[in-house]
């Protein structure tokens, strides 16, 4: 029994969520009295690979292969499954990112492994039994899922686990998997990045606005507040349905579920579908002119007031605080 963690390659480097999954996998390996191996696919700088040691990986399998420079879920799944067999891993940890969602089921199917995706904390371990707490009903509930198979795959939500530095060093080992040609049917034509800022699923702070903003032309003050906080911007469903903001910013039951440290909701009434998507936020601030808005019932801090007056003042206060 050992643990394998897949460290997702983001355009040649690692994002914070990679160090989260490594920290999580290390904590799991410690509970199981075993070691943690990481697998990196695509071309990643050696110093970035070595940095995984500082979060608990004792070994990093490095797959640098021109065919695998870009993410192709079929091929990457074959590599991870082969690596799991090579290191004798029974437990595989993957980030529940957009790419992870296309990858984890394929890895699990290859290994006949039970899969728990959307994990929000460390599992309960009782002998061979591993029970994972995961989100269900779009944030309205959690499901405690017992993985009963010999091999197991866990996909961890972003921002669900804190970074834990161990001060360790990792040995980097080149790994040369054999991948079926059939796995390369998908070709990547283009990658379009619409933002160079922090992205919504990974964001530690999210500034979100709703119909109370009255129109897309008023989003400037939302972006200024987000910039002052280093936050990502988001919106409610009516706003993306109206085309004021892109669908990728829609937070809620039929959009993205987020789990930031701080969620600031401005001019959003708080329909049950929206609240489902934000329930995992650690702290919620609600700014709304209607004191009866349902969002206040789940808020930690509330301001009753006109967004057009409060938001610019809040941005100024944040800037003053940050100096």
């Amino acid at each position: 029994m050992s643990v394998l963690v897949y460290t997702e390659n983001n355009n040649g480097s690692f994002k914070k969520s990679v160090y989260e999954v490594v920290s999580y996998a290390k904590a799991l390996a410690d509970s199981l009295n075993t070691s943690l191996t990481a697998i990196s696919i695509g071309n990643i700088d050696q110093s970035a690979l070595a940095s995984l040691g500082n979060y608990g990986a004792f070994r990093v399998l490095d797959v640098s292969n021109d065919q695998l420079k870009q993410f192709i879920n079929q091929a990457y799944a074959s590599v991870i499954a082969e690596a799991a067999n090579y290191v004798g891993a029974d437990l595989i940890v993957i980030s529940n990112s957009f790419s992870g969602k296309g990858l984890a089921p394929r890895v699990a199917a290859k290994l006949q492994a039970g899969l728990a995706d959307g994990a929000v904390e460390l599992p309960q371990i009782d002998g061979d039994k591993i029970t994972v707490k995961k989100t269900a009903f779009s944030g309205k509930a959690f499901a405690l899922t017992e993985l009963t198979s010999a091999k197991k795959v866990i996909a961890l939500n972003p921002n669900a686990f804190e970074l834990r530095e161990t001060g360790g060093n990792a040995e980097i080992e080149p790994f040369h998997p054999t991948i079926p040609n059939n796995d390369f049917a998908t070709a990547i034509q283009d990658i379009v990045r619409t933002t160079d800022k922090v992205t919504l699923p990974d964001a530690e702070i999210v500034v979100s606005a709703g119909r109370g903003l009255k129109g897309p032309e008023n989003w400037g003050m939302i972006e200024e507040l987000a910039d002052a906080l280093g936050a990502a911007t988001a919106c409610s469903k009516p706003v993306s349905d109206a085309g004021w903001r892109p669908h990728s910013e829609h937070v809620g039951q039929t959009g993205i579920a987020v789990s930031p440290n701080l969620y600031i909701a401005i001019g959003i009434s708080g329909a049950i579908q929206h609240l489902a998507g934000v329930s995992a936020s650690k702290t919620i601030v609600v700014i709304n002119k209607d004191p009866e808005a349902p969002f206040f019932k789940v808020a930690d801090y509330g301001i009753v007031g006109d967004a057009f007056e409060v938001v610019p003042k809040l941005t100024a206060a944040i800037k003053a605080y940050k100096g």
């Binding site: 983001n10 994002k15 879920n73 079929q74 799944a77 957009f98 969602k101 296309g102 984890a104 089921p105 394929r106 699990a108 039970g114 899969l115 728990a116 995706d117 959307g118 269900a136 009903f137 309205k140 509930a141 959690f142 499901a143 405690l144 899922t145 017992e146 993985l147 009963t148 198979s149 059939n182 049917a185 998908t186 990547i188 034509q189 379009v192 990045r193 699923p201 993306s240 669908h247 990728s248 039951q253 039929t254 440290n261 701080l262 049950i272 329930s279 650690k282 702290t283 601030v285 808020a299 930690d300 801090y301 509330g302 301001i303 009753v304 006109d306 409060v310 003042k313 944040i318 003053a320």
Partner: protein, 245 residues
């Protein structure tokens, strides 16, 4: 084009979710079930692609007799035929096996699912089916264009999108943007009654996981009010008390 659309029957998005007293299953009393909203997008896309005699849309659902209302709605929306696998949809692994088993010898060019179901939220079925059939899969598709024997698919990534070129057959999990949801019209509703709905028995699938308990989130404490004229106080609370900035 021969298209298979996988639909699940889920609680309406406005539902308050509660569980039975032993916390092991959903309390379904008073809950209205609907076609999973992402599956409606998949269905609408399939109908659009098949329109004008360009193909056939088959809908598959894994469920007991109670889900037939949902299946008839899909037929009313414009699917040509439906299959119900007569079983409780235990988990995504089980559901994917039923879909793959049905699809394996039918020559589907395209298999569409919603990107996730809004009940158990495994965004797993599309990739499982792809793996079980040994064909490509895309789990969060924002746009799908078919050109001959290949598809151009835009996939959501954090902070952008990837444009993929994939030969058919393929499995895609659809998200917003793929198609505008269609609403059944009266003619559709009338014709749905006579469209074929086959019922088949499930194949056996090994159990790899099981839900042992459901929990609902801890209620939050009471809101701390801050006066609209004292935003500095909010900054102070967020820094010193909540410690989030």
């Amino acid at each position: 084009m021969n298209i298979l659309v996988c639909i699940s029957n889920v609680p309406d998005t406005t539902s308050k979710i509660t569980f039975t007293s032993d916390h092991t299953s959903l309390n379904t009393s008073g809950i209205q079930f609907i076609v999973n909203p992402y599956d409606e997008i998949a269905l609408s896309k399939a109908i659009g692609l098949a329109e004008g005699g360009n193909g056939t849309v088959t809908v598959i659902n894994i469920g007991e007799t109670g889900t037939e209302a949902t299946i008839r709605k899909a037929l009313a929306t414009g699917a040509d035929q439906a299959v119900r696998v007569n079983a409780v949809p235990r988990d995504a692994w089980f559901v994917a096996h039923q879909i793959a088993n049905y699809a394996k010898d039918k020559g589907f060019d395209l298999i569409l699912t919603g990107r996730e179901s809004i009940d158990y939220n495994g965004a797993q079925v599309a990739a499982f089916v792809g793996e079980l059939l040994g064909i490509p899969s895309v789990s969060t598709a924002k746009k799908i264009d078919i050109d001959g024997n290949a598809a151009t698919v835009e996939r959501e990534i954090e902070g952008g999108k990837e444009v993929l070129s994939i030969p058919l057959p393929l499995v895609a999990g659809t998200a917003e943007g793929v198609a505008e949801p269609r609403i059944p019209n009266m003619r559709g509703i009338m014709s749905a009654r006579t469209k074929p709905l086959d019922v088949i028995e499930p194949v056996e699938v090994p159990v790899l996981s099981k839900v042992v308990r459901y929990e609902t989130p801890e209620p939050r404490g009471a809101v701390t009010w801050v006066d609209a004229g004292e935003v500095e106080k909010l900054v102070d609370l967020l820094h010193n008390k909540a410690k989030v900035i």
